[in-house]
């Protein structure tokens, strides 16, 4: 058993039957069903009991009178006790009694004691037959009576009284005799009533007469009084009545006011919901509890909307106005920017709850779109202003410096340089306005656009509880596309000034400033690409219409192409500039001879460029257009690479072919005694011919090694094939090589050939006065020495071309020899032998470097000399052998090395 229930509080503590009482205490049951009994003043009130908690039960008092206990019984605790008591009283309210009645909102329970008590109190007639009614006997069923006498009634007072009904109802068990007795009783009673008046008079004649006398006496007395006092008594009475009325007027009016107050209170309580509504709504508005507002409002409208009472109408109108204001303010709030998606959604939801007519979702979309647009434009203007300020500042700086110019020219130049470099530094440290603009708008778009898009999605998916207007889907799409387009156009106009054509152009400045700006932008291009890429990828992730993604990807593509072109152009310029960087440090390669670092520098530049392009430009992500699939891009790429290559060829040509006058041509003829520049020239400095050879070697190296390497590299980096430019440039290189060789050969053979004749006839030598030959003549030796010198150079620098160059020189030498020999008018016998010895010696020594032409020329030279006999040929043989033996060291280069023919 749990603790006993105990009642410790009662509200109110007294009242008439049916009073709603709140009973408080402890252990009043664990649940509604736990309460098994509730006695108030001894009356069972369990039926009306409403269990609230174990501390509180609400019930209605019973008909019990006087002070009494409140006893609650529970299943869990048993019969309890109380510390407070309830007093029941039956109240009669007269006009003089002050009272207050609280209007109960809850209807009385149907099964009330009241109806029963009323039926108890109805007046019960005594039986007209004077018979005692045996109530305990079985009653005649009432339904049967209704059936038998559909029109009748058993009620004695009723118009359609049916005696049979009455008898059946009340006396159906009475015996006939009894009924007869009853009938006689009734007859007696009726007779008694008829005769009553007369018999009454008879019985009381004397007293009646006495009364009559008294009345006459009274009349006389009265008339006497009237005469005596001559006043109408009625006036006094009237006065008295008036006085009484006055006395009660106050009371009555008090009652009236009490009634009115009571009524007003009742109305107030009953409709307190409505009266509190405006305050409640305002309170809820403050707390943002729009659900509550709306449900309250709807409830109020349902409950009171039909009433014609002006005050209700007024309150409802007030409420409606408040709600309207709220709607308007919310709606304007919806248009307040910037805001977050959540906020917008919340406001929209609230507007929907409040029954906003119109389309808040669409309004939100509209205003967001407008906001994005405006913000973009605004941002642009801000940055344009910033840029012009910056430019002005720079200009001012220069202008200020310009003032100093007159004072000190040199200082000015210095300053200018410093300030220029400062500006550059500045622009590298601080983002230039255009780039800042780009960053800002992209950041802005990245922030706002997804929300805008999501808002749209939410709207069209019906998440906002609005029926979306499907017709607007296209419009929204247009919005999205327009926003993206605007953004892209702005970006374009900021950083790709040359290919934007709208009125959104950034202001054009004077050419120097403009170029400065462009230069700065170029520095930042990769950054821009990254920014735009992030924009693009985030837009792609949003799955917005392809149309708008296409816009960004187009922009991205243009940017990339632009950037690529810039990069390649820069490389081309750098390649061109390589000529100034040539330091002529020779690097000897066994295969290709001496090369400078030029080709490797070239390779480095190109590979750097493609690396850079690859990294910043070609890296594409989802839904971006790969740059290289674009035909213009491809074409541009090819053209530019071609240009780079040609630039290099040009560089090589410039370096190789343009001679400087002072180190032109080494004199070849030592025999003539012309000064040999060799001794004067610093050995570390290369002569022009050597440079020519070095470049030649570079050409070959480039053609054979670098080009394939680059080709492979391009292939690896995913660039389209560059075979075509390579092929073209190889051609150009080959031509260049050929030209270089020709130049070189010309350069070398001209002096060489030129010295032959003077040397041959040196010291007034004549072929017909020739002495006995003992060796090759010095001119022949000189030819050999000169060729050896060339050989040395060529071998050192371009070993692969040794044969080609030497053979050509040999050819010219042979041609000259044959010319000289055929020009000889007369040989003596020695001269004959001598000439043969010379020619054959050369022939023998140089036979490895002889082409067909050369051997022809040698043969012609031999033929020009007179034929010889055997003895003479023996002598020639002997001398030649002797010569070869003696000179083997010097000639070893011609013999030992067997140069490959190319």
């Amino acid at each position: 058993m749990g603790p006993l229930p105990i009642v410790t509080g009662i509200s109110p503590k007294e009242g008439p039957p049916g009073t709603r009482v709140i009973i408080r205490g402890e252990y009043l049951g664990k649940e509604p069903n736990d309460v098994t009994g509730l006695l108030i003043c001894g009356c069972d009130c369990l039926l009306s009991a409403e269990w609230k908690s174990s501390n509180k039960i609400i019930a209605r008092s019973g008909p019990g009178k006087g002070r009494g206990d409140i006893i609650i019984s529970t299943k869990s605790g048993g019969k309890g006790s109380c510390t407070v008591q309830f007093r029941g009283y039956h109240e009669t309210i007269g006009p003089l009694k002050e009272s207050a009645v609280w209007v109960e909102e809850a209807p009385l329970p149907g099964l009330s004691w009241g109806s029963r008590s009323l039926s108890h109190s109805t007046y019960h007639l005594e039986d007209p037959l004077g018979l005692s009614v045996e109530e305990n006997e079985k009653k005649f069923p009432e339904d049967d009576l209704h059936e038998m006498f559909p029109e009748g009634s058993g009620d004695l007072g009723s118009e359609n009284f049916e005696p049979n009904w009455f008898l059946l109802e009340h006396h159906h068990a009475t015996s006939f005799d009894d009924l007869k007795v009853g009938l006689s009783y009734l007859k007696r009673k009726v007779d008694g009533q008829k005769e009553g008046q007369l018999s009454f008079l008879k019985d009381n004649v004397s007293s009646v007469m006495e009364q009559m006398d008294t009345l006459f006496l009274l009349k006389d007395k009265f008339e006497e009084d009237m005469k005596k006092h001559n006043t109408d008594t009625t006036t006094k009475i009237e006065k008295a009545i008036n006085g009484a009325n006055k006395l009660f007027e106050d009371v009555l009016s008090r009652r009236e006011t009490a009634d009115a107050t009571r009524h007003a209170l009742a109305v107030m309580t009953r409709y307190k919901f409505l009266f509190f509504l405006p305050v409640n709504i305002e309170h809820n508005i403050k707390h943002g509890d729009f659900d509550l507002i709306m449900s309250d409002y709807a409830r109020a409208r349902n409950l009171f909307g039909k009433f014609e009472t002006p005050i209700f109408k007024q309150i409802l109108a007030d409420v409606a106005a408040t709600i309207n204001n709220l709607k308007i303010s919310l709606h304007s709030k919806l248009k307040d920017m910037p805001t977050t998606l959540d906020q917008q959604k919340k406001i929209i939801r609230n507007l929907i709850i409040l029954g906003f007519e119109g389309d808040p979702g669409w309004d939100a979309i509209n205003s967001t779109y407008k906001y994005i647009k405006d913000q973009l434009i605004l941002n642009r203007e801000d940055h344009i202003a910033a840029e012009s300020i910056q430019l002005d500042a720079e200009a001012g700086n220069i202008h200020y410096l310009g003032k100093q110019k007159s004072e000190n020219n040199i200082q000015y130049e210095k300053h200018k340089k410093i300030s220029n470099s400062n500006i550059l530094l500045d622009t590298q440290n601080n983002t230039p306005p255009r780039i800042a603009f780009l960053e800002d708008i992209i950041e802005f778009i990245l922030e706002t656009f997804p929300e805008f898009w999501k808002l749209g999605q939410a709207y069209f998916n019906g998440e906002l509880q609005i029926k979306p207007d499907k017709m607007k889907q296209n419009e929204f799409k247009q919005y999205v596309v327009n926003a993206v387009k605007l953004c892209c156009t702005l970006i374009r106009s900021a950083i790709l000034p040359q290919n934007s054509d709208t009125e959104l152009q950034w202001p054009h400045y004077s050419s120097s400033k403009q170029s400065n700006i462009i230069e700065i932008i170029l520095l930042w291009l990769p950054h821009c690409i990254r920014l735009v890429q992030s924009l693009h990828s985030s837009l792609t992730n949003l799955e917005i219409p392809n149309e708008s993604v296409e816009i960004t990807s187009k922009l991205l593509l243009d940017l990339r192409i632009h950037s690529m072109i810039i990069e390649l152009k820069k490389t081309a310029d750098q390649v061109k500039g390589l000529s100034n960087k040539e330091n002529w440090q020779l690097d000897y390669d066994s295969e290709y001879g001496a090369i400078t670092q030029l080709p490797s520098e070239f390779e480095k530049l190109v590979s750097q460029a493609i690396q850079k392009i690859k990294e910043s430009i070609l890296e594409t992500k989802r839904k971006e257009i790969p740059v290289l699939t674009n035909p213009t891009a491809k074409q541009e790429l090819t053209v530019l690479i071609n240009k780079i290559f040609l630039n290099f060829v040009q560089t090589l040509e410039v370096l190789g072919m343009i001679s400087e006058d002072h180190d032109h041509a080494i004199a070849v003829s030592q025999l003539i005694g012309s000064p040999t520049p060799y001794s004067e020239n610093d050995s570390s400095e290369l002569t022009w011919e050597q440079r020519l050879l070095a470049m030649l070697s570079n050409c070959r190296y480039t053609r054979i090694i670098i080009y394939p390497k680059l080709s492979v590299q391009f292939h690896h980096q995913g660039f389209p094939s560059i075979d075509e430019p390579i092929r073209q440039c190889s051609g150009a290189l080959s031509i260049l090589e050929k030209r270089m060789i020709e130049t070189y050969v010309e350069l070398k053979s001209d002096p060489l050939v030129g010295t032959i004749e003077p040397s041959m006839y040196l010291g007034h030598f004549e072929w017909d006065t020739c002495l006995k030959p003992i060796d090759l003549r010095p001119y022949a030796k000189e030819i050999l020495t000169n060729i050896t010198a060339v050989y040395a150079d060529v071998h050192r620098l371009v070993p692969k071309l040794l044969y080609r160059i030497i053979s050509e020189i040999v050819e010219t030498v042979a041609e000259e020899l044959s010319r000289l020999m055929s020009c000889v008018t007369k040989f003596n016998s020695y001269g004959k032998v001598q000439a043969r010895i010379d020619v054959m010696g050369l022939q023998r020594v140089l036979h490895q470097f002889m082409n067909e032409n050369a051997s022809c020329f040698f043969n012609e030279a031999l033929e020009a000399v007179l034929p010889i006999d055997e003895y003479e040929s023996n002598i020639i043989e002997e001398i030649l052998n002797n010569f070869l033996k003696k000179m083997s060291l010097q000639l070893s280069c011609f013999i030992a090395v067997c140069p490959t023919k190319e």
Partner: protein
């Protein structure tokens, strides 16, 4: 009940008075059941009684929570007669309720025939200090004038709720002790002298 009186603890009858809506019932219910009733439902006359421990002694407190509304002004006399101590409550946020305490005080004194009645002036709704209309000084001045204590409570936060009831019970207890002393002497005459002549229509 009468047979139990010997073992039954002392009973102190407290009456809550004050204008309508100042929080008499709220104070009572907070004291009795630790609950705070938000919604306002005018009281007629409620009765509560429970055992409490007052300074180590088990006593019973009987609280009569009366109606503040003017409609009941006439029946107050009856209630007041049975009371031993009074908590005169007003709302610190309502000027009229404070003014009304004067009338209540007078009525009590009239009914009880004396001015040495256990009585506490209670300023309720102390949690609504930002809506305060009656300054503490103002209330204290009046309390001083009446020679009673002034306590500020909040039925909502339960601040000083126990204090007012216990303080009042202590006053009642000490008053009872005094009375038993005085009744042996000539207490009755004193009360007669103080009787005020008054009639109401």
């Amino acid at each position: 009940m009468s047979k139990k009186t010997g073992t039954q603890p002392a009973l102190h009858k407290v009456i809550m008075v004050g204008s309508g809506g100042v929080g008499k019932s709220a104070l009572t219910l907070q004291f009795m059941y630790d609950e705070f009733i938000e919604d306002y439902e005018p009281t007629k006359a409620d009765s509560y009684r429970k055992k409490v421990v007052l300074d180590g002694e088990e006593v019973q407190i009987d609280i009569l929570d009366t109606a503040g509304q003017e409609d009941y002004a006439a029946i107050r006399d009856n209630y007041f007669r049975s009371g031993e101590g009074f908590l005169c409550v007003f709302s610190i946020t309502e000027e009229e309720s404070f003014q009304a305490t004067q009338e209540f005080r007078e009525q009590i004194l009239r009914v009880k025939n004396g001015d040495n009645i256990p009585f506490l002036l209670v300023g309720n709704k102390g949690d609504l200090y930002d809506k305060r209309k009656i300054s503490i000084a103002e209330a204290q001045a009046r309390a001083q004038q009446w020679n009673v204590h002034y306590v500020e409570t909040s039925a909502k936060t339960r601040e000083n709720v126990d204090k007012v009831f216990y303080d009042l019970m202590r006053e009642i207890r000490s008053r009872k002790i005094d009375d038993t002393k005085v009744s042996n002497g000539h207490g009755k005459e004193k009360s007669k002298i103080k009787r005020l002549k008054c009639c109401i229509l």
